[in-house]
Subunit: 421 residues, 2 copies
C-alpha cells in the first residue's frame, strides 16, 4: 500500500509538471476561457456538489466532529453562490504573467529586464472548507501554475465533486485536466510525498491550524509559503491623538475576534496611561472583553483587569480577551513587539514624526502601521484582488500574498549580437 501511494503521488506530480509546461505559456485569453468554462460547469453541477457535501456532513456528524469544523465544512446554496462570485473576481484580475519591467540598456549594449513567470507547480494542503478547492485552483490557473490539492479527509466527496467540474471546464478550454488535481486518498503518506517531491512541486501552501503548518514546515523539502500566528500589537505612544487612538484600539480588537490581524496586546505609554486607559476600558467593557494587564495597568484600572502572566504576551487569543501592558517608552514597546510578537502586523498611534519613522524602521513585522487599525492587513484591503494567504515568512512573500506570491521573475536579455569582452 505504502508503495502504491508513492507511485500514485509521483504520477500526480509528473502530470502536474507536464501540465505546468503548457499552462506557463498559455495566453490570458485561454486561461480566462478555462475559468469561465469552470464557472459554467460548476453552475451546472450545483446539485451534485451540494449532494456530495451532504454526504460529507453526514459522515462528519457520525464521527462527532466539533461544530466549528462542521460549520466550515458545510456548503449551503448561499456559500455556493459566494464561491462562484469569488471565481468571477479572479477572472477579472489582471494576469501577472509575462509582465516585463525595468527594461534598460546596460553599458555592454544588452537590454536587461525582468519578466514575471509562474512558479510551476503548487502543492496546497488545507482543512475542511471545500471552497478553498475552487479558490486555490482558480488563483493557480490565473497565474499559470498547475496545482495539486490535498484537502481534509472530512471534505473528500465535496472536493472531488468540485474537481470534476473544474476538470470539465479545463477540457472545454483545451487545457490539460491535470492542471488541477485533487488527491483522491486520505492516506497521510500522500502529504508526506507531496511535500518532498521537489522534482515535481515548486512551492507548498498550507492552510489550517498551527499544528498542521508546523508539521508541514518541518518535514517539507520544498519551500513553504506559511502563516503561523497573528499576535498583533497596537502601541499608544505618549503623543498619540486620543481621537485616533480610541477608535483604533477598539476596532483592532473588537471588529472581529477570530482573525489573524486582530490586536492581541495593547501597549500604552506610561505618560498617557492615566488618561487613556480608563476611557478605552469603558469601551471594552461595553463589548464585554476580558482584560489581562500588567501590575501597572491593574493599579489604574483595578480588579476589572486580571493579572497577565508571561504567557499572555505570547498568546494569540482569537477571542474576546486582550492583554494590556504599560511601557516606559518607544524602546520598551519595540523590544516587546519584536520579542513576543509574531511579526505579523503592529501599529503605533502617535503624532510624533520622528518616533513614527523609528517605529517603522525598527519593528520587524510583515505590516507596520502608523495611526491605522491592524485589521487593514489583508489582501482585499491591500488591493491584491484575492489572497492566497498571509505569510509571516521573510523569504519570497511577506504579509498578504496575492497572485504575485505564486509567481517569480526571470531575467530577460535582448541583444543584436553582443558578446562579452
Amino acid at each position: 500500500m505504502q508503495e502504491s501511494i508513492e507511485q500514485y503521488m509521483h504520477t500526480v506530480g509528473q502530470q502536474a509538471r507536464q501540465a505546468s509546461r503548457v499552462l506557463s505559456s498559455a495566453s490570458t485569453q485561454i486561461k480566462n476561457h478555462a475559468l469561465s468554462a469552470i464557472y459554467t460547469a460548476l453552475e451546472n453541477s450545483e446539485s451534485a456538489i451540494l449532494a456530495a457535501n451532504k454526504n460529507d456532513m453526514a459522515k462528519a456528524h457520525n464521527n462527532n466532529l466539533d461544530s466549528a469544523l462542521l460549520d466550515r465544512l458545510e456548503l449551503t446554496p448561499t456559500r455556493f453562490k459566494g464561491m462562484l462570485h469569488g471565481l468571477k473576481d479572479v477572472i477579472g484580475l489582471t494576469d501577472p504573467i509575462g509582465e516585463i519591467t525595468d527594461l534598460a540598456y546596460r553599458p555592454s549594449g544588452i537590454q536587461l529586464g525582468k519578466m514575471r513567470v509562474p512558479l510551476g507547480v503548487v502543492g496546497m494542503i488545507y482543512e475542511s472548507r471545500p471552497n478553498v478547492t475552487l479558490e486555490a485552483a482558480s488563483l493557480a490557473l490565473k497565474s499559470g501554475n498547475a496545482i495539486i490539492l490535498r484537502g481534509g479527509s472530512e471534505a473528500l466527496e465535496s472536493n472531488q465533486a468540485i474537481a470534476v467540474a473544474i476538470q470539465h471546464g479545463l477540457k472545454t478550454a483545451g487545457l490539460p485536466e491535470s492542471c488541477v488535481q485533487v488527491i483522491n486518498t486520505t492516506d497521510r503518506e500522500a502529504v508526506g510525498q507531496l511535500i518532498t517531491m521537489s522534482e515535481y512541486v515548486d512551492v507548498i501552501v498550507p492552510r489550517g491550524g498551527k499544528g498542521l503548518i508546523e508539521r508541514i514546515t518541518n518535514d517539507a523539502r520544498i519551500p513553504v509559503i506559511k502563516h503561523l500566528d497573528g499576535n498583533c500589537h497596537v502601541y499608544v505612544e505618549a503623543q498619540a491623538d486620543l481621537q485616533k487612538a480610541l477608535p483604533i484600539a477598539l476596532n483592532a480588537k473588537t471588529h472581529r475576534y477570530g482573525v489573524c490581524n486582530a490586536m492581541e496586546t495593547l501597549l500604552v505609554d506610561e505618560k498617557i496611561a492615566d488618561e487613556f486607559l480608563p476611557r478605552i476600558a469603558e469601551l471594552y467593557a461595553e463589548k464585554q472583553l476580558e482584560l489581562r494587564g500588567c501590575a501597572n495597568v491593574r493599579r489604574i484600572l483595578g480588579d476589572q483587569v486580571k493579572p497577565a502572566s508571561e504567557e499572555d504576551w505570547y498568546e494569540e487569543y482569537l477571542g474576546p480577551i486582550l492583554a494590556i501592558k504599560i511601557v516606559s517608552g518607544m524602546d520598551e514597546a519595540i523590544d516587546h513587539i519584536n520579542k513576543y510578537g509574531s511579526h505579523h502586523t503592529d501599529a503605533i498611534i502617535t503624532e510624533n514624526f520622528s518616533l513614527a519613522r523609528q517605529f517603522l524602521a525598527r519593528v520587524d513585522s510583515s505590516s507596520v502601521m502608523i495611526n491605522a487599525s491592524t485589521r487593514f492587513a489583508d489582501g482585499f484591503e491591500y488591493g491584491l484582488g484575492a489572497e492566497i494567504g498571509i505569510s509571516t515568512d521573510k523569504i519570497h512573500a511577506r504579509g498578504p500574498v496575492g497572485l504575485e506570491g505564486l509567481t517569480s521573475q526571470k531575467w530577460v536579455v535582448f541583444g543584436d549580437g553582443q558578446i562579452r569582452q
Copy 2:
C-alpha cells in the same frame, strides 16, 4: 563534545540575532563608517593576514591538497589588494535598506507601500577562498544583516585573521562585533547546527561544489539561496543572422571555460545546420575544443566530432568540451533545454520576432536571452554592483543575486486614524 558544539553555535546564533536588531536600523552613514574602518583595519593587518594564509598553505601542502584548491586558498599581495578594492566597491553601493516604493492611497484612506528591510541573519558556508570572508561580510553589513561565516577547514587561520580585522572595524564604528562572526571550529556538527537553527538564522547561502550544496539543501531547515549547475544552451534558429550567431556561439563557449554561464550544449536548427556547422566548427578547431555531437551533426562534420551520449546533454563540462545537437525546430529546442538544462541561462539566435517572443515565454530559466552571449549572466554585467551568488531557485531570488537578495520587503501603512468598516 557534541553538546558543546551545539552550545557554542547557539551562543553564536543568539549573538547574531541580537546584533541584527541593531544593524537592521543602523543608518547608511554608520554602516559605511564601519566598512571604512574595516578597510583601514585590513590595511594595517596585511602582514598578519598573509602570514596566517602562509600557515594554511603549508598545512594544505602537507595534506597533499590538489593544486586547484591550493590556488583558490592562496592570498598573494595582489589578491589582497583585490579584496580591498572589492570592499571599496561595496562602500560605494547604494544602501537598499529603507527604500519605500509603491506608496499609494487605498479606497479606505490608508496609504500603503512597501519598505525594503534586511533578512536578519545570514549563514554562509563556503570552501577555500578566504576572500569570500570579506566579500560576504561586507555585503551583509551593507544590507543590514548580521552574518555567521563557516569557511573551509583548510582556510581556518586566514579566515580568523580577516575576522579579527573586521571586528576591529565594527568596534571602531560602534557596532556590535557579533555582526560578523567566523566559526572557530572545523567540526562538521557546526554546519549541522547552523543550517537548522531557524530561530537565529534567516537564510543560508552555500558556495562551493555541487555535493556541498546538495547536502546543505537536504539537511537545512532554513531557506537556502543556492546555485547548482550551469548547463547553458545557445539555440541557433533557422532564421539566425550568422554574423551574430558565429561570434555568440564562440564567445558563449570559449570566453572562459570554468564558469557557470558558459554554453555547454549548442542546438542548431536542421534548416541552417549545413551552412552554420562547418563555419563554427572551424572557429572551435582553432580553440582546440573537443566536440561531441548527435548522429546528424557527425553526418555533417564527420569524425572531428565524437558521438554524444545521453549523459552529454546533462553535462556541465566547465572545460573545452562542447555538446552539439541538431533539432527539428523551436519545439524540440525548447523541450531539450527545459528537460536537460539547469534553468540557468539559455539564448536563442534568431531574427524572427514571433519565435523570439515564444522562446522568451517558454524557456524556464533564470536568464533567457535573445541574440546575446550567455556569458552576460552575471551580477557585474547586470549592474548589481556585487554578487552574492547566482541562484537557480525560483523562490525569493533568481539568477544573479546582489544586495537585494539579502533583503525583503515589509508592508507599511500610514493613516490618520482609519479603522476597518
